[in-house]
């Protein structure tokens, strides 16, 4: 759709010049020219008409209402008022004054625009990409199956801008998530794993989340995350010699057998702990009290068990 009329002005000038030359008076080609000290009016040399840059009507006037916009604006480009057929306005004016229109509007040019990504265009692109996609496997229809076959979940983000670039520093971040139960660790190893992982583990959902962003590329971050996972797993399986020295103070849970509570009971009743009546209830209550934290429920359970242990009457209410 090149506008052939563009050539017209050039043609016009050529013509004018040829006309000028052809209409110049025929001079005798003698050896010497006549001396013209004073300006004798001969044929006037044609004035050089400055080339008028033609001002055309904007392209929008020639756009059809049902055109394919994706072909008109194929890629990201800053706003060009003569190519966008919308009477969009932007600006903040005083009361009563109309908002400036799109021509020579710097604000509209500054703003990022997504004219290259309108919904039909996106649809078209998705259709084009579809041939590179494979269908979802039919066997993976429930969350449990997905968890069982694919326990690792790796997440990363891509960013698109209103400029041609898709590079974004945030795109290198990689998040690795998995459930601790899928590692099948024994209790000692699990305890060690939890101490190594710290607060990256959430107890309620039993998930470990590892976020890596220390490398500049996504692939590198992914490799690092997998390395971390491997290292954690093998470290927690290793048994170090100093683990024998684990004392009561290091224990992560409270075990009634090893603690002063048992000794106190034995001293009170002067018999071995097993023979004291209501002892299981008491030991269970103490363990829960220490492990689950203090709240009204655990305390009241503890109180009741002590009452049974020491033969005290039940609470009056």
């Amino acid at each position: 759709m090149i506008n052939l009329s563009k050539r017209l002005p050039f043609r016009g000038i050529e013509k004018q010049l040829t006309v000028a030359y052809s209409s110049a008076p025929k001079e005798q080609h003698d050896e010497f020219k006549a001396l013209n000290l004073y300006k004798v009016k001969g044929a006037e040399t044609p004035r050089r008409i400055p080339r008028k840059t033609p001002v055309f009507a904007p392209r929008t006037t020639q756009m059809a209402v049902d055109q394919d916009w994706g072909s008109v604006w194929p890629g990201p480009r800053s706003f060009h008022p003569a190519s966008v057929p919308l009477p969009v306005r932007q600006g903040f004016t005083e009361k009563g004054a109309p908002i400036p229109d799109k021509y020579a509007n710097a604000e509209l040019m500054k703003i990022p625009n997504f004219l290259h990504l309108t919904p039909p265009v996106i649809k078209r692109q998705c259709e084009a990409l579809k041939k590179f996609c494979t269908p979802w496997p039919a066997a993976l229809d429930s969350a449990e199956k997905i968890q069982q076959h694919f326990p690792l979940e790796i997440t990363s983000s891509d960013y698109c801008h209103s400029s041609p670039s898709i590079r974004d520093p945030m795109a290198r971040i990689v998040t690795l998530r998995f459930k601790l139960s899928s590692l099948h660790l024994e209790s000692r190893a699990k305890d060690k794993f939890l101490r190594l992982v710290g607060d990256k583990y959430v107890k309620d959902t039993d998930t470990v989340t590892i976020v890596t962003d220390r490398c500049p590329l996504r692939k590198q971050n992914l490799d690092y995350a997998m390395y971390l996972l491997t290292a954690l797993y093998h470290e927690s399986k290793k048994v170090e010699p100093w683990e024998e020295l684990k004392s009561e103070a290091d224990m992560e849970t409270y075990i009634w057998e090893n603690n002063a509570s048992k000794q106190a009971v034995e001293k009170i009743f002067s018999v071995a702990a097993e023979q004291v009546p209501n002892i299981e209830q008491y030991s269970q209550a103490v363990t829960d009290y220490m492990n689950e934290g203090e709240n009204d429920y655990t305390i009241s359970k503890y109180g009741l068990s002590v009452r049974d242990l020491l033969n005290l009457p039940q609470p009056i209410n």
Binding site: A264, V306, R307, L310, I316
Partner: protein
């Protein structure tokens, strides 16, 4: 009118203020009955039971002078006593629970420990006072520490201990406590059976002989402040021996017990270093008393959030009023197994009862909807309620 005044003098004891309602000619009978429903005439805590819950009973002045001369009741409450001219305690569930247990304990078994816990201002100290009154009425030997903070945070003076290496003595405080002990147990100490079991050598020249009465030991401690702390420790041992032998039954009541385990105190050595309670001689005596290796005794202890709050600069989000947190590992192991007794916030009934009491005492001017509003605003917390009623 004369008959009415005669009736007044017959009915009320002198120390109690004459309620103004009887002086008005047009006294509504219904209002009297309602106002009376929050009081109970039962002045003996041993007889307090479930039926007396949410009612007020008066401690007679004589008992009060003996028990709480040197402390034991919270400061705000003491002001109320002055204003209302009577010592009225509300009968509440924790105190009745403990009294019930005390009644049914087998005193030949090792000592039972009770721990009173609850949020700030719910009435732990007052419940303790109620149990003390019960113990007093039932002729227990009372070992009462009104507020451990007095030792740890407001110690009057400190000096290096002579008998123990590296320990600190709190002389004035120990002597004051001995005085308090003597006042509380004045009657019982007259008993000649309370004797010391061994010779105690204070210095080259001073000693207390074996089989002299405990009263002498206490007198010595009070007079000679230098030995007061040691005196307290020895007294603790002696009391244990006496209880084991069955000569007397003891009730140990300590308010703010968790301060014995809190590492930061305001006691300083000469070098201005903070002293851990472990290094204070008094601590040892009282911890000894709270063990379970003696008979014929009961131990009641309160744990208070306020002790920790005062030490910390800001509020710790992990702060809780529960005993395990406040006692710490050592404290818990020391007291385990104990009976935790929760001192709850006011129930609606208790709230109404105390509001009736305030209105009757003319402490609060009544207006409709007052009870619900105050219950909501205070959230059931007794201390906050007292605070808000100040301006009503």
């Amino acid at each position: 009118m004369l008959k009415a005044t005669a009736y007044l003098f017959l009915k009320h004891s002198t120390h109690r203020a004459i309620p103004t309602r009887y002086l008005t000619a047009a006294a509504e009978l219904q209002q009297d009955e309602r106002l009376q429903s929050f009081r109970t005439q039962e002045a003996d805590p041993s007889k307090h039971s479930k039926d007396h819950l949410a009612q007020f009973y008066t401690i007679p002045l004589s008992d009060r002078n003996v028990l709480f001369q040197h402390g034991g009741l919270p400061k705000t409450f003491q002001q109320h006593i002055k204003t209302f001219n009577e010592t009225c305690l509300m009968v509440r569930e924790p105190a009745v629970d403990i009294i019930n247990c005390l009644k049914s304990i087998d005193y030949d078994k090792p000592a039972v420990r009770f721990v009173l816990y609850g949020k700030n201002g719910t009435g732990k100290s007052i419940s303790l006072a109620h149990v003390l009154h019960y113990a007093f009425k039932n002729k227990f030997l009372i070992v009462h520490v009104p507020w451990v903070g007095d030792f740890m945070r407001h110690c009057k003076d400190s000096s290096n201990s002579e008998t123990r290496e590296g320990f600190i003595d709190l002389n004035i405080n120990a002597a004051a406590w001995l005085l308090h002990f003597r006042t509380q147990n004045a009657e019982l100490l007259k008993n000649p059976d309370l004797k010391i079991s061994r010779d105690i050598q204070w210095t080259k020249r001073e000693s207390t002989a074996k089989d002299s009465s405990i009263l002498e030991l206490i007198e010595h401690g009070i007079n000679r402040m230098r030995f007061a702390s040691d005196c307290v420790n020895i007294l603790a041992e002696e009391i244990k021996l006496l209880s084991n032998a069955g000569i007397c039954k003891t009730l140990v009541a300590i308010d703010g017990f968790n301060e014995f385990f809190y590492p930061t105190t305001k006691v300083y050595t000469e070098k201005k270093e903070i002293v851990h309670p472990n290094k204070i001689t008094l601590t040892e005596g009282f911890l000894n008393l709270t063990k379970f290796d003696w008979k014929n005794a009961a131990v009641i202890v309160t744990v208070d959030e306020m002790t920790v709050k005062v030490h910390e600069e800001g509020t710790d989000p992990s702060m809780s009023h529960f005993p395990r947190f406040l006692l710490g590992k050592h404290g818990f192991e020391h007291l385990d197994p104990f009976l935790p007794v929760n001192v709850p916030l006011f129930s609606k009934k208790e709230h109404e009862s105390i509001m009736d009491y305030f209105r009757e005492r003319r402490w609060v001017r009544p207006y409709p909807g007052q009870d619900e509003e105050l219950y909501f605003l205070s959230g059931g917390n007794p201390f906050t309620l007292l605070d808000y009623c100040k301006s009503l």
